[in-house]
Amino acid sequence: MSANVLEVKGLTKRFGGLAAVNDVSFDVREGGISGLIGPNGAGKTTIFNLITGVYKVTAGEVSFQGRRIENVEPYKIADLGVTRTFQNIRLFKNLSVFDNVLTACHLSAKYSIPEAILRLPRFRREEKVLAEKATFLLEIMGLQDRRDIQANNLPYGLQRRLEIVRALALDPKLLLLDEPAAGMNPDETEQLMRLISEIRERFKLSVLLIEHHMDLVMGICEHIVVLNFGQKLSEGSADAVSSDPKVMEAYLGSSGGNKC
């Protein structure tokens, strides 16, 4: 059994008096694909926001590769190797596909502002590397022929894909995907499943995803955490979770099982 890349212990977040996330603990295995599921309002996205530093943690711990990251600023967490996509896509809308990715590649260059203004050799050298990296990423993710299109003119599915490419530009070790298959048809969802597995292999990273498409979750997640009303309901493999009576009750009882 490999080590854990992310460990969440007793994570709690209160908005005023309301506990959106209450004492949740789980681990994400190195190199694994884990799923975070649960009915709407269960606190899934809040957990993403806590891991990535968007929200301040009320109580509990988040450790990434053995290092505590709760309440660290989001950009530092990204620098450490945790990045994410958003449920409601947040691209740099007015920039081209290529510029979206090129911008996110910035951590691979080190030149300073004076070097940029004076166009010194290091600037030229590193800019070339950045452009190559962005081109490479777009090529392997099949977006190269759309590189000059403005991001918000892309079809919905490709916008989601571009957001993943932008995340990959940061060389993450842990990738958080917030409902990557939202709004996709079964064909596209299947494509996405293959893509996520490929990414994991190719970039040697771990994935934690939030999803409502049960086919996708059950199909690729090796480990699943089920949340309900901000608390952990169940945890385990796809089979274990789907046969857990508590999970059946939460899903069948509240939403009539139509999520399957």
Partner: protein, 292 residues
């Protein structure tokens, strides 16, 4: 001590006029989340409406008041239709609203300069100059009337918002505009009414301001202070706007009285920056965490 009381009374009087202006900023902010900088221009035109009603049309005081406030209410609604409605329809970012508001403010000020001229104009004397004496205190008649009319208008506004159906709709829209629209509230009408209310009070304030000081195109810049009062009290909160205005009025007169009248204008901006550093949400505002 008596000097202090005197300053307090003066501060209260000017603070109440600030409050009339500040609620206009806060009302709009509460439902549309942007600082309506065109409000200063509306107040300025209110002062001119009142001035010309009294001098050119030779109308009685009450009629001039009515013309000024109805005129500014209509003007505020007109600005909303022309400068903000297209942005609302497009769901433009709030910065566009601010810029559009700045444009409207520049437009109003300079139309007045180009047509009426940049000169200072003095209101005819309506109330006798000699003050009323109350023990050691002497209170200007105008100050007294300003205070009571302002208090009356503000009480009316608060009653309107608390007690009427449309007032409840405004409160609901301030809480959540989108949900309000989904519940079948005509939010477009709510916006119009909010602008009309703010505009009406702006007219009252403009006339008082013109009477107390003078009328000139840059009055709009002075009303920036009432905006600061609204920030001080907490943008978007009506009680906050009133409290912030009264406090600002009192602090200003105390500073002018005890330190130097030159610091009078500066203190408002010092307060503004202090509030923004230590409590950007103001006295009555509540702090919120952005939802991602």
């Amino acid at each position: 001590m008596s000097q202090f009381l005197q300053q307090l009374v003066n501060g209260l009087s000017i603070g109440s006029v600030y409050a009339l202006m500040a609620v206009g900023y806060s009302l709009v902010y509460s439902i549309m989340n942007f600082s309506n900088f065109a409000h200063g221009g509306v107040i300025m035109l209110g002062a001119y409406f009142g001035f010309f009603s009294l001098t050119s049309l030779k109308l009685p005081f009450a009629a001039a008041f009515l013309i000024a406030s109805v005129g500014t209410a209509l003007l505020a609604v007109l600005i909303e239709r022309v400068a903000y409605k297209p942005l609302r329809d497009r769901r433009a970012p709030f910065l566009y609203f601010i810029i559009s508001a700045m444009g409207a403010s520049i437009l109003l000020e300079n139309i007045v300069i180009a047509t009426i001229g940049p000169t200072f104009r003095t209101y005819p004397e309506i109330f006798a100059r000699e003050p009323i004496s109350l023990g050691t205190l002497s209170i200007g008649r105008l100050d007294l009337i300003m205070f009571f009319v302002s208090a009356f208008c503000l009480a009316g506004l608060i009653l309107f918002i608390e007690k009427t159906r449309i007032g409840k709709a405004i409160q609901a829209a301030a809480y959540n505009m989108k949900a309000c629209a989904l519940m079948g509230v005509n939010t477009d009408r709510v916006v119009l009414i909010v602008f009309a209310l703010g505009g009406f009070l702006a007219g009252v304030a403009g006339v008082f301001f013109g009477m107390k000081y003078t009328v000139y195109p840059q009055i709009g810049n002075i009303t920036t202070k009432s905006f600061i009062a609204a920030v001080f009290g907490g943008l978007g909160s009506l009680p906050g706007a009133v409290i912030g205005s009264v406090l600002l009025g009192i602090i200003e007169t105390l500073v002018a009285g005890y330190l130097s009248s030159q610091f009078r204008d500066l203190i408002a901006f010092v307060i503004l920056i202090g509030v923004l550093i230590f409590r950007p949400t103001g006295i009555m505002g509540k702090s919120t965490e952005d939802k991602a």
